[in-house]
Point group: C2
Chain length 348, copies 2
């Protein structure tokens, strides 16, 4: 009994096609990433990564645990680091104007335009030990991780010139991880990415029409209905979105309106860290070894105003099914698990 | 030396990040789909699929080759077949108005809207033999396949009520194939999918400004430049798009303006079939066993006018890298192989 659902925030269309969950090989089971015994993120191999931008140490460092979390420049960056070297200062402090250099035309034709992808691409190594999922991190390290996201976003804000910074995580090969060792990434770009732009423009239009933040309205409605709620903490709600793009998609948002992750106080971040760890645990209980991504959507770093229409949130996207030809060609996802079913299973 | 490129047709932004091609595990090597010896698409197992909508037989059918191509309803459809049964007639001939039934609100809240995903989901089985890629099909069968796409699209056009029909193909697990046996799918929906809508609206805007089809202009420019051209036939050009979303992406389009695949004559379709087979062969020569999708973008089936701004084409998308957290969160692809390099390798 398939249906087309419309995402209340972005207008995105998704086909919820329950019958497809029964087909053979409906869910992927990727082989784990082979550990070549030479993981560059493990303790003692620090020289295999570029020099750290920041390090977070335990209260009592030891040989086995000299640090909890290390932030290093990505050795294979998706964007061009302006200074070419890892530095404790943000990488984009050059006075070159990001969007003005290297604009060019190819074959003399106006419609082949490109500009330098300047920015910053950091890796956040989350444990000296070779663990894979955030569920294996000590609670105190997990809490630190969410403070690190705040610190790094704050640092990139002050760097100027960049428009957006997105923290995200790839766990296990089906989620695009190329190294097994638990890590996040922070990728800052000179433009606001299209998906974020879509959320910003739609939520702004909603605010103009209704005088309310669409996310705040959505949270109220989800909490009232309850069928898609997965978990709740003192400050946050987690739910499977009405137009979930994939099985067991979960969004996590603060109950109180806030457009910017970096403004969150430490107590709330600790609360969030525990909730995210719990949610990934729930996912792994339903689908052991599930590959997943999560990502942080927050206000652009080049935006200094408080945005009454935008509400930061985390999107957790399990990677249990594969993106195929129809999704590429249509831009529309087919999800075989209705979010109401997903939420019920995750709550259990 | 990363750069942000803008797709001339859709405005889509892509980050071309050459340095990332060097990272470990940059390219996936998925294990092949296990053959359980019980493939429902092989000759002799016709009773394992729903009754055929259409069958295409060789000139001299035999026990081993009673048919070349069979079109059957998808056993696990992404959309709801109106009549619930496979029929030789198109599945959407009911008089119910597609977009009017089953519209509903959840929790009484206006922004949870959904409608029935009515449509048609067909599977095109491309050989009685258990082959995986189109490069293993006999030339005559490959030609027939491209005639089948035309026949099925034409048939769905006359069914009325549906807005769009997309033919696509998933080959190997990394491309989302759940069965190894070579097959295509045709998925018809009551709406024009967002990616197609984007192409239609951008090309219409271009036409309004320039009085030209943007695809025709693009082809002329690509042919003049040559650096991204992969192959050419009497009637078609194949090139790696300037803002390729993934390594070795190839688009194939007719040299003469045409908005609608179904209007293509048989001689041209034969020419196209040979070119597509050749292109997949070139890809498999560069990356043996490459997983790939291809999909057909053509005018909506509910559009009867000739569209001077739209130009049908095929998009071939190899699945050598995985979609990760950044792509989900940003809607922006990171491609480590510049299309100029990809085209050079594919031409060799």
């Amino acid at each position: 009994m398939s249906e087309v659902r419309h995402d209340p925030v972005t207008g995105r269309q998704v086909i919820i096609a329950q019958d497809r969950a029964n087909r053979p090989h409906a869910f992927v089971s990727d082989p784990p990433l082979l550990d070549d015994g030479d993981c560059p993120f493990c303790v003692g191999r620090e020289s295999n990564t570029p020099r750290a931008i920041a390090e977070y140490a335990p209260p009592r460092p030891s040989a086995a645990e000299p640090w909890w979390i290390r932030v290093v420049p990505n050795k294979y960056p998706a964007v061009r680091e302006l200074n070419g070297v890892a530095a404790a200062s943000p990488t984009c402090t050059s006075t070159a104007k990001v969007n003005e250099i290297d604009r060019r035309r190819i074959n003399g034709h106006a419609f082949f335009t490109a500009e330098a992808a300047l920015g910053s691409h950091e890796v956040i190594i989350e444990s000296p030990r070779h663990v894979v999922s955030v569920t294996e991190l000590d609670e105190s390290v997990m809490r630190t991780l969410f403070h690190v996201y705040r610190d790094r976003l704050t640092s990139l804000r002050t760097a100027g010139q960049l428009a957006y910074a997105m923290a995200f995580k790839n766990v296990r090969p089906a989620a695009g991880a190329s190294l097994a060792h638990s890590h996040s990434q922070l990728l800052a770009t000179p433009f606001v990415p299209p998906q974020v732009e879509l959320e910003l423009s739609h939520s702004q239009a909603y605010f103009a029409d209704h005088g309310q933040c669409v996310f705040c309205e959505l949270l109220r409605s989800e909490c009232r209905g309850g069928v898609r709620i997965v978990a709740e903490s003192a400050n946050f709600v987690a739910w499977c979105p009405f137009a979930s793009r994939c099985p067991y998609e979960v969004w996590i948002a603060p109950k109180q309106h806030a457009c910017r992750y970096e403004s969150t106080d430490s107590a709330r971040l600790d609360d969030l860290a525990a909730l995210v760890q719990q949610l990934v645990g729930r996912l792994e209980a339903v689908h052991p070894q599930a590959a997943y991504n999560y990502l942080l959507h927050t206000a652009p770093i080049n935006e200094s105003r408080e945005l009454p229409h935008y509400h930061w949130h985390i999107e957790l996207l399990p990677r249990l099914i594969k993106f195929a030809g129809f999704e590429w060609g249509s831009g529309c996802y087919i999800n075989p698990i209705p979010p109401e079913t997903a939420a019920e299973q995750l709550r259990a």
